[in-house]
Subunit: 372 residues, 2 copies
């Protein structure tokens, strides 16, 4: 097997982990290969705070032979070099006697410098980055690099880009298959949905996961609510607070909008975040706060103004864009994006088409967007 093929084996191991088990940790797989090309140890990171992939692989190899000096270690992510929840993997690698390490992607965390540390210790370390290794940990890399969740933004619009008619009606722009796809394949992939109090109140939104013929599944909700409208007594019966046992409704208000000690609906938590004079939330602060709450990956499903705001601030990593098979042909209808930026065409945000699917007459377009 070639170096690339060995890394692909390690990648396939990495993918065996489940996001809910590893939480904000990366997917990592590792194998130890002996001088004859036999895989004598393998493993993957399985659970947040527990053993790293390299440890599984090296421990298994050491059961077979005490001398790993002719073995190579293939690991899909740069080994850690610091004391975190577990001791540094570089220590174990050095102790094991392995002299050759092939790394599939670098860790953007500045505390992780395993690559350099191994080099300094006369290990033959090489990097073979593959798009798959990068894509596998897109959430982790964004969390590390940008100190914010990986952000997807969903929009469902007519072909002419309208998310509601002139009177505000938006049910339904897209067909049942599109909506089922959103619930089954997009909402299920994130730790929380972010919306605004305005949208949640207007749509009586539950922001849960509803798949036809199955019970609905709860999902964390983050509601941008500067003045704390959702905390008023009249809103206590809003359906978003219903049927929660494992998830929370995070109400994001300006500091002081919520008076500490006032009763809150069950499973509700207030996050205080600065807003500027235009009523715009400080996304840098919010990003950090959401990571602290364990929300590593979020989906924005909001109106035109908030959606445009987060896009204009380059806070969004991917766009989940549904085109309903309708043409409203009405400049009075509500456009999906609403912000005046006077952007020249050559400065338009370039999109990378990740996938496209047709659902009967609807289209689903999944894009990556250039971020900061």
């Amino acid at each position: 097997m070639t170096t690339l093929e060995h890394l692909i084996v390690a990648l396939s191991l990495a993918k065996k982990a489940k996001r809910k088990d590893i939480k904000g940790n990366p997917f990592v797989g590792a194998i130890v290969v002996d001088e004859n090309g036999a895989i004598i140890g393998s493993g993957y990171h399985q659970k947040w705070g527990e053993k790293h992939a390299e440890v599984f692989a090296i421990e298994e190899a050491l059961l077979k032979t005490a001398d790993l000096s002719n073995c190579s270690l293939y690991v899909t992510l740069e080994p850690c070099s610091h004391h975190g929840k577990t001791p540094p993997c570089t220590d174990l690698i050095l102790k094991s006697g392995i002299k050759k390490v092939i790394v599939g992607s670098l860790d953007p965390n500045p505390n992780v410098s395993g690559f350099t540390l191994l080099q300094q210790n006369v290990i033959d370390v090489s990097l073979l980055e593959t798009p798959e290794a990068i894509s596998l940990n897109k959430i982790f890399f964004t969390n590390q690099k940008s100190n914010k969740p990986f952000v997807r933004l969903k929009m469902a619009a007519t072909l002419d880009g309208k998310i509601a008619d002139y009177a505000g009606a938006s049910k339904w722009i897209t067909n049942e298959i599109s909506r089922a796809y959103l619930h089954a394949h997009i909402r299920t992939e994130v730790d929380a949905i972010i919306s605004t109090a305005k949208t949640v109140i207007q749509d009586q939104a539950t922001l849960n996961i509803r798949i036809p013929n199955t019970q609905s599944t709860e999902l964390n909700a983050v509601i941008i609510d500067r003045t704390g409208a959702m905390l008023e007594p009249a809103k206590a019966s809003h359906p978003i607070f219903d049927n929660r046992t494992e998830t929370k409704v995070f109400i994001v208000t300006a500091p002081g909008a919520y008076v500490a000690g006032k009763p809150l609906p069950a499973h509700t938590e207030v996050i205080e975040t600065p807003f500027n004079a235009n009523g715009e939330i400080d996304l840098d602060t919010l990003g950090k706060q959401l990571l602290q709450k364990g929300l590593y990956s979020v989906l924005v499903e909001a109106g035109a103004i908030f959606s445009s705001y987060v896009l204009s601030k380059k806070w969004v990593n991917e766009l989940d864009y549904f085109i309903g098979s309708k043409l409203l042909l009405d400049s009075n209808a509500k456009a999906g994006f609403d912000i005046a930026t006077s952007t020249p065409l050559q400065n338009a945000a370039p999109l990378t088409l990740l996938e496209s699917m047709s659902f009967e007459n609807d289209m689903y377009l999944h894009y990556a967007i250039e971020v900061l």
Copy 2:
């Protein structure tokens, strides 16, 4: 072979014709099948004004046997029953002795009542309509039913539906592959492009067919130009008039805008069409005039106002919509559709997705639209 299989054979014959040979005539194929299921005659309509498919098939069959009374005729379109450019096919069918006819689609021309006429003459006639037979002659059927060309409308917009930035820049919204596809697979399919004087002047448009590494091909142009701006002496050097030998530039003006006898650029013809008090062209009249000029299938490539107008009048049959992989995120940018209709969502024009293709990061969506 089943009845359907026989019709599929006839359809595959029909498709052998070339649009430029049959012009506004339909694609038609026919076979004569004897009592043993053998195909003893076949043919298709090959050239405008010449022999119909049934004639080829029956004449060939008659060379093999003088008695066709045990034979069946499969023809993809209802046989003609009137004296047009050729004698009625129903006469030949009756004379041939054929007793069974299977028709693949009905002719919407009220002068064509071959189906009923054959029934009245004790022929066993049946209709087996297939979507393929309907689609094959979508241009002909639209010409017959609506007395207008088959109209496609092309738009190239950013994901947020903008066809130019706030300053009017539109080069380029889509990538080279999208533009090559437009030229090689859409412009080549129509008899003319329709645009407006404003767009043609602004873009210095030639409206020809340009395919990388091949010489450009001329194409008829129809320019909606109420006041005759394109006929002013200063416009005589506009590139749209260049390099024409077989095609024309049709300048559509309000009656009287062009003074008969004034010199015209070469290969130019004026069409006088009524416009209403809002400066909107009478599409019913225009449709008839374009058919008279032999323009059976046209492609609208114009700005937001004319595009919205023809769509709002349900004059468009299909939409060729390109999404460039850009997000302008600017309400000051130029939207692709610009008309205020206050249409409720439930009255939005439903679209049928015919095909979708990705060209690197661009998308091409081909829709059929509900028409009058």
